[in-house]
């Protein structure tokens, strides 16, 4: 429950404060969001599996965000930023889908 509350507070903060992202980091925000989404769904599935661990969740969240943004950053520097971000999004998308599928099994027993 407290996590849902945190999510609501975060969304409201983001919408109303409209924090300015530094121009250099702007291109990496969307990929970081997708990576964070993966971590969040992973955590949700672990919670439903009954093996949720906040330390693991926070570590996976931070590392997902940093690594995804870092890969795209390096790709940008090498001139293959577009392709690398596509690859990252494909992998994260597959993970998100399978995690969501597991969550669905938990919630609807189907």
């Amino acid at each position: 429950m407290i996590a849902v509350l945190g999510l609501a507070v975060g969304v409201l903060l983001g919408v109303f404060l409209e924090p300015d992202v530094p121009l250099g980091l702007e291109p990496y925000l969307p990929i970081a969001v997708v990576a964070a989404l993966d971590a969040v769904f992973g955590g949700m599935r672990a919670y439903l599996d009954g093996i949720f661990d906040d330390k693991v969740f926070v570590v996976s969240f931070v590392s997902n965000v940093v690594i995804a943004a870092g890969i795209v950053y390096v790709g940008d520097k090498l001139g293959v930023g577009g392709q690398l971000s596509t690859g990252v999004i494909v992998v994260l998308g597959i993970r998100i889908f399978s995690n969501v599928a597991a969550i669905r099994r938990h919630l609807f027993h189907a």
Partner: protein
Amino acid sequence: MPERDDLPPRVTLPLLDLVQRQALDEDYLVAAERRAQRATEPGTHADVRRGSGHPRRVAAVAVMVFGIMASTAAVQTQRNASVADEGRASLLARIDGESDRVARLQEQIADLREANADSEQQVLALSEQQQSLTARLRRLQVRTGFVAVRGEGVRVIVTDEATGTPDGAVKDEDLALLVDGLWAAGAEAISVNGQRLTAASAIRVSGAAIEVNGVGIASPYTVLAVGDKGSLQANFYDTSSGLAFNDLSQRYGFEVDMQNEDELSLPSARPSMRVLRWADEGSSQDGKPRKSEEVEP
């Protein structure tokens, strides 16, 4: 094959299968196992509670950060979209304006081309006109003594009768007859003793001496006439003035020596003779006097 079974699945599995199978971080499993191990050990109940107590807030904070990131990204994308839309709209407006300008300029080009063609036509006509006018000016300048000329013609030397009787002396009328005859015979330029004859020239007598252009001259009188040397002499004796001059020379006995010359050189008239003092250029196209500036030496 047998050693393959020993390898962990992350080595043997195809990448996509691996990604799908490991969608859940293995760390959760590892942490859960560790917790389970600790739970079996005595005196560590506090650890189990840790999972649902104060640390949950850390996860909530992480989720909150996620929310902030997601909404920020969304807001930003929206903002950028509006900026991009504006940029596109302004670009479209500019393109429209520029293509309008291009059309206008092309119209202008067509107009200018037409004007160019017209002007060229005009230039052609004008240069033709100029050519004919220059030729005419040339002709008039030669005829009126505005320029020095050179060319074939006839040299006439008239000398007073050798005995020196007053009747045998050459009179101004005699010279005038000679000159008139030469003009009539087709001479283009005439000079008498170096005095070029112009339209304003006069041959008259002043006392005993003959004056041409206001300059006194004496026998022998050398008359140079530029013209067709093949026909000038013959034509001269065909004119009434020429016949009269011939009669007079026969009657009074002054000597006339007329010879064809291949190369005659006539000076231009004196500058004072060439200045138009009272006449101005007429406005009609066939006005004979040309611009006085043009003929100024």
